[in-house]
Amino acid sequence: MEASQFKSDQYVRFCPGCGDHAICMALQKAMAQIGIPTHQTVVISGIGCSSRMPHYLNTYGFNTIHGRGGAIATGVKTSHPELNVWQMTGDGDCLAIGGNHFIHEIRRNVDLNICLFNNRIYGLTKGQYSPTSPKGFVSKSSPFGTVERPFVPAELVLGARGTFFARTLDVDMPTTVDTMVQAQEHKGASVIECLVNCVIFNNGTHNWIADRETRAEHSIVLKHGEKMIFGANRDKGLALDYSAGVMPKLIVVPADDERVLVHNAKEQDPTLHRMLAMMGQERFLEDQKVNAELNAELPVALGVIRNVEAETYDQAVNQQIVDIQSQSKVTEFDQLMMTLEHWEM
């Protein structure tokens, strides 16, 4: 199929320069590559800039209410597992007002593809700090800087026993498309954290990895089965260092070091996945650090970090009904009524 088949007739109204434009195009490309027809694809969203996405996709779509996209998507997929269901959400919609639905759709492992647009700001309500804004962040609702500890989305996903987590960057179209295709192929709740730039209220929040000159040094695209190598000259690798005590640490080593790790996204144990996902996140957790310290940090992991198999909720619920119906002697409603104690009057 062609990406154009997934474009709706609506004028795309994201701000000029917004990272959501890129994700929108990536989605259309990924959906075309996946090849499931538009009428069998459903895109559910809550509220926020990212949640406008269904309007720009020529599929079935439902732009709902703040934070509840996850619960509504769960209803669609569970009742109709034959449909291909996507959820569009943002760091506020998903991690603040919709946090409860988010952890439970992951815990249940509903077969959804969840695009979590993380721009670390509330855009549509015009610039308040979000659950992923760095500590100390100055915004309209935090004029003296936030004192809150932020979430790292990956930690929530893994804490909720997530089976698929990927991270991607608005300016990296090939990785974004590839990640979306893998999310679709994965059966279960697939979370893609899309790092997007808010050109109006939080411009440049991802520049340290998004800038063309520095991206290769500050990020690594993980691929299952391949060595963890990065850098403009692909001269650096990631390894585990056991010297500091019982807890190993990830370190950067030369690419030809024999200790360089091979990425295994299929490993059930999430320990290493979490370590990889946490690389470069410390800058958000304490008072904002300056870019000067950047070189000391590990690269931010992009691509599919975790991709393991587990039973999906929608399949299990439907299978249970099929199993019980196949064993039941009562199949018609009139028969059911006569199972009640009854008598003539």
């Binding site: 709706s8 609506q10 027809p37 538009t38 009428h39 069998q40 459903v42 559910i44 269904p54 309007h55 020529n58 599929t59 079935y60 779509g61 439902f62 732009n63 709902t64 209410i65 509840r68 619960a71 509504i72 998507a73 769960t74 209803g75 669609v76 997929k77 569970t78 009742s79 109709h80 034959e82 449909l83 409860n100 639905h101 439970h104 619920v317 439907n318 249970q320 009904i321 019980i324 119906q325 039941s328 009562v330 199949t331 018609e332 409603f333 009139d334 059911l336 009524m337 006569m338 009640l340 104690e341 009854h342 008598w343 003539e344 009057m345």
Partner: protein
């Protein structure tokens, strides 16, 4: 006698609900009308023998039965605390018969129930005209089971069967039917059947030793009043659940319930979760909001989608119900009302969610509101809620309450094809390729296309949409047009529902008015007062002839279990109408005598 009211009461672990239910069902099989009122504490197991742990089950059997009865004719009190609660709450009248377990009036028992003296009957000031029948239930049960090999605890648990045996003798209920019930009840624990049957039979035989006359209930009039057919006894929550299943089967849609546990609605989820044989899908959601939202998702995808809750949950669901109004999706919301506000009285009954159901959402947000008025017709109104939702593309809120949910009554079993047809809104073939979610038919009802249908892809929204294109619109005139469209859709439903019917003495100058669960009490009160009754099951929209009916009467008294919500609504809808009010807010159903007394004074 035409009818009799019996109340079984004891500790919450004494099996009073089972005993009461068995007696009601036995009576129903024998051709009695029944109405039951389970009355249990919010605590699962309060300390044994205390006032807080008393659990009661009242049943009214016979003919001309409209309510569970104001006061009992016969009380079975399993302990001293139960007797005290009955006296304190005036649960029996001056000529009642009270069967008490004399083994449970020891000094420690009396202390636990906060008696001050050693003579409970005098202390309670029970009228001399009340007949106290002492039965050593505990020792007699022990004697009955002495060769059973059961431990003492299990033996004591069978006391309720001895009491039931005595009551069965008193009202001449046949033992074979009772035994059949026990066999059915314990079919998964067959070892318990023989013991229970023995105690029950011994209790029955012991009845002969009592210096009491058997009471005969004349049920001849029942047969005349009731439609001939196959009957069952059913509780409101179960009837609601099965009404939903029937509606789904009638229109060939799958039933989806998204819900979250909340007293007193949870039994609906329990019941439906057990009906996978009927293809019912239940999602026990992470919260009330997710309960309604999963249902909205299932509705968007084409299912018959429902959510069940009680008052606090309805508050939480408000925003999502607004979404279903805006997106014009069918949705059935069942609100089993309980005492409020906030967590209020979780196990008690009240009609205080009415205005929340009608108005409790942001924006101009009309939804259909209907109310069931007996445990059995919870089935019919659940079915009707589904029919209205699917045919009119709207959320429908069905109001029941604790009293209907837990109480039971007789229901005639009908075949599916005897029930009304349901024709869910669809979409005309010619709209393929041109469909959008704003297109509506001549009745202002939006066409419904669902995912999977090729050529009808569209985007639905909670934002205002263009009345022609279906896309987001903030255009001023369009918003007004859309508000009026959504209102018109609800208003036209008045053409599809039955007109308001006046019961009782239609020529009286006094009219009682009520809605929902109070119908039985108001019917009995109207009979006693010799006046008319207009009882509402349809609340939004109101039946078309509402004004015409209400304006005919000089004295119109709106009786409701809240502080005047329905009266407020009627005053708003019927300009200039003069209404009197009778309101009770005690967490209990009306007492017929209190209504009669107050209306007489007005």
């Amino acid at each position: 006698m035409k009818s009799v009211v019996i109340r079984f009461c004891g500790d919450s672990g004494d099996g009073m609900q089972l005993t009461g239910n068995m007696f009601s069902s036995l009576s129903a099989i024998l051709g009695n009308e029944i109405s039951t009122l389970p009355d249990f504490p919010a605590e699962i197991r309060a300390p044994q023998g205390t006032l807080g742990g008393v659990s009661g089950f009242q049943v009214h059997v016979g003919s001309g039965v409209y309510t569970p009865g104001d006061q009992a004719d016969v009380i079975v009190a399993m302990n001293a605390a139960a007797l005290k609660v009955c006296v304190q709450n005036k649960l029996f009248h001056d000529h009642a018969v009270i069967i008490v377990d004399t083994d449970t009036f020891t000094k420690p028992d009396l202390e636990k129930a906060l008696y001050k003296t050693d003579n409970p009957f005098t202390e309670l000031g029970i009228s001399e005209s009340v007949r106290i029948v002492p039965v050593a239930l505990t020792s007699l049960t022990k004697e009955s089971l002495k060769d059973s090999g059961l431990d003492n605890k299990s033996i004591l648990k069978s006391r309720n069967m001895f009491a039931l045996g005595v009551v069965c003798w008193l009202f001449d209920r046949p033992m074979d039917k009772a035994i059949h019930f026990l066999e059915d009840k314990f079919k998964k624990k067959p070892q318990l059947i023989s013991h229970n049957v023995k105690v029950l039979t011994d209790g029955y035989n012991y009845g002969n030793n009592l210096a009491l006359n058997q009471m005969v209930i004349d049920t001849e009039e029942v047969a005349q009043e009731m439609e001939h057919g196959t009957y069952t006894s059913i509780a409101g929550n179960k009837a609601t659940s099965w009404g939903l299943i029937a509606a789904a089967k009638r229109c060939g849609k799958r039933l989806f319930l998204g819900s979250y546990p909340i007293t007193p609605a949870t039994d609906i989820m329990h019941e439906l979760a057990g009906r996978k044989d009927m293809g019912v899908m239940v999602v026990q959601a992470e919260d009330e909001i997710a309960g309604v939202c999963t249902a909205i998702g299932a509705s968007f995808a084409g299912d018959l989608a429902c959510t069940s809750t009680s008052g606090p949950g309805l508050s939480l669901k408000s925003e999502a119900i607004g979404l279903a109004v805006m997106a014009e999706l069918p949705l059935v919301v069942i609100d089993v009302q309980r005492g409020g506000p906030s967590t209020g009285l979780p196990t008690k009954t009240e009609q205080t969610d009415l205005l929340q159901a009608v108005f409790g959402r942001n924006g101009e947000c009309p939804a259909v509101v209907i109310a069931a008025s007996s445990p059995a017709n919870c089935f019919d109104y659940a079915f009707e809620a589904c029919k209205i939702a699917l045919e009119n593309m709207t959320p429908v809120i069905l109001l029941t309450d604790t009293y209907l949910a837990n109480g039971s009554g007789l229901m005639r079993i009908r075949k599916l094809d005897e029930m009304p047809q349901i024709r869910p809104q669809g979409v005309p073939e010619e709209l393929k390729g041109h469909y959008n979610p704003a297109l509506r038919d001549a009745n202002s009802i939006r066409y419904w296309a669902v995912p999977g249908m090729e050529g009808y892809e569209h985007r639905n929204i909670g934002l205002e949409r263009d009345s022609e294109k279906g896309t987001i619109s903030t255009q001023p005139m369009n918003h007004q047009t859309m508000i009026l469209n959504r209102q018109a859709k609800i208003d036209q439903i008045a053409n599809r529902i039955p007109e308001l019917r006046v019961q009782g003495n239609v020529n009286s100058d006094t009219l009682l008015v009520g809605f929902g669960s109070t119908e039985g009490h108001l019917h009995a009160a109207a009979n006693e007062l010799g006046c008319a009754l207009a009882h509402f099951n349809y609340i939004n929209p109101l039946p078309k002839n509402t004004a015409e009916v209400l304006r005919k009467y000089q004295k119109v008294v709106v009786c409701e279990l809240n502080n005047g919500q329905f009266a407020t609504l009627l005053r708003a809808r019927l300009e200039g109408i003069q209404l009197l009010q009778y309101n009770e807010m005690m967490g209990q159903p009306f007492a017929v005598e209190r209504i009669v007394e107050h209306v007489k004074k007005m």
